[in-house]
């Protein structure tokens, strides 16, 4: 049976959904939109879906992915519309493409993620660059998994590209370190957005729909 890859956005108030809540919401929306989902065999059939790395509560995602197996081929444009008609506010289906047989699943494909961390109205008194230098002293391993970062002082945000999986530092640790570095005991009202998920290979960044390819510059 054919596999499809869905690209979607989780933003605005929908960013407060947990991974599980989001998956249930997407799954029910697909049922309402009459997607011919393929189910596993056995006593408790479940739709055959696979997800990219989970997104935490409160974190938005601009380009997130889910793979789904369907019982038959569908018109992707038509079904993309059906799905959008059934999604609650803040969740938007962006693209739906059929995968080539034998194409790597999301878990295998994705190995890095790009996050944008905004400090909102609470821009720290020290510059992001100073902060980062300070953090590097305190958390020697912090930047290990960070492949690249860029700081936009005027925009008040930090963008990081980091490895997903065991190797890299977790987003949570990074945020904790940032909080500590700024010296606030309360959690900084940051807005975190995952702007994309990629495969990094030989210095090339490829997105799961293979629409873009970037050359990764040095950090």
């Amino acid at each position: 049976m054919p596999w499809y890859r869905l690209e979607y956005t989780k933003k605005d108030t929908a960013r407060f959904l947990s991974h599980r809540e989001l998956m249930t919401t997407l799954q029910r929306a697909m049922k309402r939109a009459s997607f011919p989902l393929t189910y596993s065999r056995g006593h408790h059939p479940r739709p055959k879906l696979s997800y990219g790395p989970p997104l935490g509560v409160g974190v938005a995602g601009l380009r997130e992915y889910m793979d789904l197996e369907l019982d038959r081929e569908i018109s992707t444009l038509e079904y993309l519309q059906f799905l959008n008609d059934q999604l609650p506010p803040g969740i938007i289906a962006q693209n739906l493409v059929k995968l080539d047989p034998g194409e790597a699943g999301l878990g295998k494909f994705i190995n890095c993620a790009c996050y944008r961390i905004e400090a909102g109205s609470c821009i720290p008194t020290i510059s992001w660059e100073q902060l980062f230098n300070k953090l590097e002293e305190e958390y020697p391993n912090l930047t290990d998994g960070l492949l690249k970062w860029c700081v936009d002082l005027a925009g008040g945000y930090l963008e990081v590209l980091m490895e997903v999986g065991q190797k890299g530092v977790s987003l949570r640790t990074l945020l904790e370190a940032l909080n500590k570095g700024i010296g606030t005991s309360v959690l900084l009202p940051v807005m975190v957005t995952r702007t994309g998920l990629y495969q990094l290979e030989n210095g090339l960044l490829i997105d799961p729909l293979k629409k873009y390819t970037h050359l990764l510059e040095e950090k």
Binding site: E21, L37, P47, V57, P88, P89
Partner: protein, 621 residues
């Protein structure tokens, strides 16, 4: 900044499970608030995850929002962390749909599912920025109403609630909202006093401030008198006569944050006439009114289509008693299997037929629950639970045979006339169930038997309403005794908090004086009393002490038949003579048959409420 903006930017990032405060559920209804004349918020005094699993909410939400001139939004008790954030930020409690303060609504309607949510009612009023007591609220502040099973003894909440709606809400709530719209007219606000003058004319509406409770010199409740010319002596409950044609929601709210049950709800019938003598639901939802298989199949189809749920649950007090299962189930199963929808039954009757029926339904089922309630035939006759030992053993055999090795057994401890033999009987039953399990366990699979025991709580309007609860000491000893015996047979034994059951007993049969206790306890910090992690019994005891009220006088009180009962201002339709007779039969160990089979047991409900059992016929099996 609006409440919504503040929430999103400042508050939601700080709380657990923030999605529950968004109001973006599929099938939620968002109307133009300012364009709708009669606006009500349904206030559920427990967490989102509990309230969203509640059928009554789904029914009233769909029903009211269908009307163009009304709107019904939702508000649940905020979790403890959310309450702290709201108070810190000085934000009022809001509705989920429009994120408006509760104060902006014309009506705030609480549903009272259990006594242990009463402190949350006060907390929600306070978070809404309203004075707790009706008498202290301004005339133009929202009307506060309440309904649900715990409203059948409204007295402990009397000073806080403007009007109670007793019984089923489908018709009466719309009548109330009509009056609200009319009285309000084009004024921005309706006057509460004017509203009450009109609402008193609606059958089923009880306005506590129109009555004065009287007490004797010892402080015992003596009776209640109307002090308003229009207030009826007794308020009769409302009942929907024709359930099959009544409104039923098919575009049910789909929880966006995790809920206890996430499934489509198909109410196959209402009412249960089995007549268990401890059971309040069996009284207050009489008689039985079944929906036809055609109606149900059509509703199921739409629910599945409109929600995307993975499961549909057949809801009623005893779903396997439905008269046309043989017409409903095959077709429903076929439809559900095609779309990979599971079908669940909330509880199984204790017999093998039930198990076999459940086995035939699609969906995941790993455990089964049976409720024999008492350990011996004698005591089961006393409570009129028509279950024999053989029924139980056969049911359990069928369950093991079906491969369900997790079996949960419900019992009640502290029932009237209970002796040590009855307690031993529980352990004997459990033991035998385990022996059966051993015979069926194919080598590796061991049966897992869990015994879940509650303590008997006497409830208003039941044949046991006169009976006192066992003392807490005695209940503790009894539970320990059974646990020791059960442990020997290597089953797990859990029991509900005895302190919580004790408090429940106080309020289930309490009078207006308990309102003061409730208010003090609330102010001391009591809330979420039904949740063991939040229940603070010592604060409750302090509150009783401060007022010189002994809670034991309430929980353990045995009433005489001719004594005034605080809840008698409510007429549940069942006659007092019937309840006395049932109580007598209980003490004599005489069972009373179910009137569903045809013979009227003369409980009084049908003639007094002008209703009748409404049964659909199956093709016969």
């Amino acid at each position: 900044m609006t409440i919504k903006q503040l929430l999103v930017e400042k508050i939601l990032p700080q709380v657990r499970k923030p999605a529950q405060y968004l109001g973006t559920e599929w099938n939620s209804v968002h109307k133009d608030f300012d364009a709708v004349p009669a606006r009500m918020v349904f206030a559920f005094p427990d967490l989102y995850e509990v309230g969203m699993s509640h059928l009554g909410l789904q029914i009233l939400y769909g029903l009211v929002n269908q009307r163009e001139d009304c709107l019904l939004e939702r508000s649940f008790a905020p979790a403890v962390d959310m309450e702290a954030e709201l108070r810190r930020a000085g934000l009022p409690l809001f509705s989920l749909e429009s994120h408006r303060p509760l104060k902006d609504f014309d009506v705030i309607g609480f549903t009272l599912q259990y006594e242990l949510s009463f402190s949350n009612v006060l907390n929600m009023l306070d978070l809404a920025g309203l004075p707790l007591r009706s008498a202290d609220r301004q005339d133009d502040q929202p009307l506060v109403i309440a309904g649900g099973p715990a409203a059948y003894n409204p007295e402990p909440l009397a000073p806080f609630i403007d009007a109670f709606l007793i019984g089923e809400g489908e018709e009466a709530l719309l009548e109330i909202l009509d009056v609200v719209g009319e009285v309000k007219g084009d004024k921005g606000r309706a006057s509460r006093s004017q509203l009450l003058e009109r609402l008193v004319e609606i059958p089923g509406v009880y306005i506590p401030s129109y009555y004065r409770a009287e007490y004797n010199e010892q402080g015992w409740y003596k009776g209640i008198k109307p002090i308003h010319p229009k207030a009826p002596e007794r308020v009769q409950r409302r009942v929907v006569r024709e359930l099959d044609s009544a409104y039923f929601p098919v575009s049910q709210l789909v929880p966006i944050s995790e809920a206890v049950h996430e499934r489509g709800m198909l109410e196959i019938f209402r009412g249960c006439t089995r007549g268990c003598r401890f059971c309040q639901a069996g009284v207050i939802y009489r008689p039985v009114r079944e929906r036809t298989p055609e109606t149900l199949l059509a509703a199921a189809r739409d629910i599945i289509k409109n929600t995307g749920f993975e499961e549909v649950s057949l809801i009623s007090l005893s779903s396997l008693d439905y008269g046309a299962l043989d017409q409903l189930l095959p077709q429903l199963t076929q439809g559900c299997e095609a779309t990979r929808i599971g079908i669940s039954l909330p509880s199984l009757r204790v017999d093998s037929f039930s198990v076999k029926t459940a086995q035939g339904l699609p969906g995941r089922r790993t455990s089964v629950t049976f409720a024999p309630e008492a350990g011996t035939q004698r005591l089961r006759d006393v409570i009129n639970k028509g279950v024999t030992e053989e029924d139980l053993f056969k049911a359990v055999e069928a369950a093991f045979d079906a491969g369900w090795f997790a079996v949960k057994l419900y019992f009640m401890v502290g029932l009237p006339t209970e002796t040590i033999d009855d307690l031993k009987g529980i352990a004997d039953l459990v033991n035998e169930v385990i022996q059966i399990g051993k015979r069926y366990s194919r080598g590796k699979k061991r049966p897992r038997i869990t015994v879940s025991a509650s303590s008997f709580v006497p409830k208003a309007h039941t044949p046991f309403q006169w009976e006192g609860q066992n003392s807490r000491d005695l209940l503790t000893k009894k539970h320990h005794y059974v646990r020791e015996l059960v442990k020997r047979s290597r089953a797990e034994y859990n029991w509900h908090s005895i302190d919580a059951s004790f408090l429940e007993a106080c309020f289930a049969r309490g009078d207006r004086k308990l309102a003061d206790v409730l208010e003090i306890a609330y102010k001391k910090g009591c809330r979420f009393d039904g949740w063991s992690e939040h229940f603070r019994f010592s604060l409750w005891m302090e509150s009783f002490n401060e007022l010189g009220i002994d809670p034991v006088d309430y929980a353990e009180k045995t009433f005489a038949y001719d004594e005034a009962l605080p809840w008698e201002v409510i007429d549940a339709g069942v006659s007092k003579d019937f309840l006395i007779e049932e109580h007598q039969r209980a003490l004599a160990g005489k069972p009373t048959p179910d009137c569903r089979a045809g013979r009227c047991g003369k409980c009084g409900v049908c003639p007094s409420l002008k209703v009748a059992n409404c049964l659909v016929k199956g093709r016969g099996r």
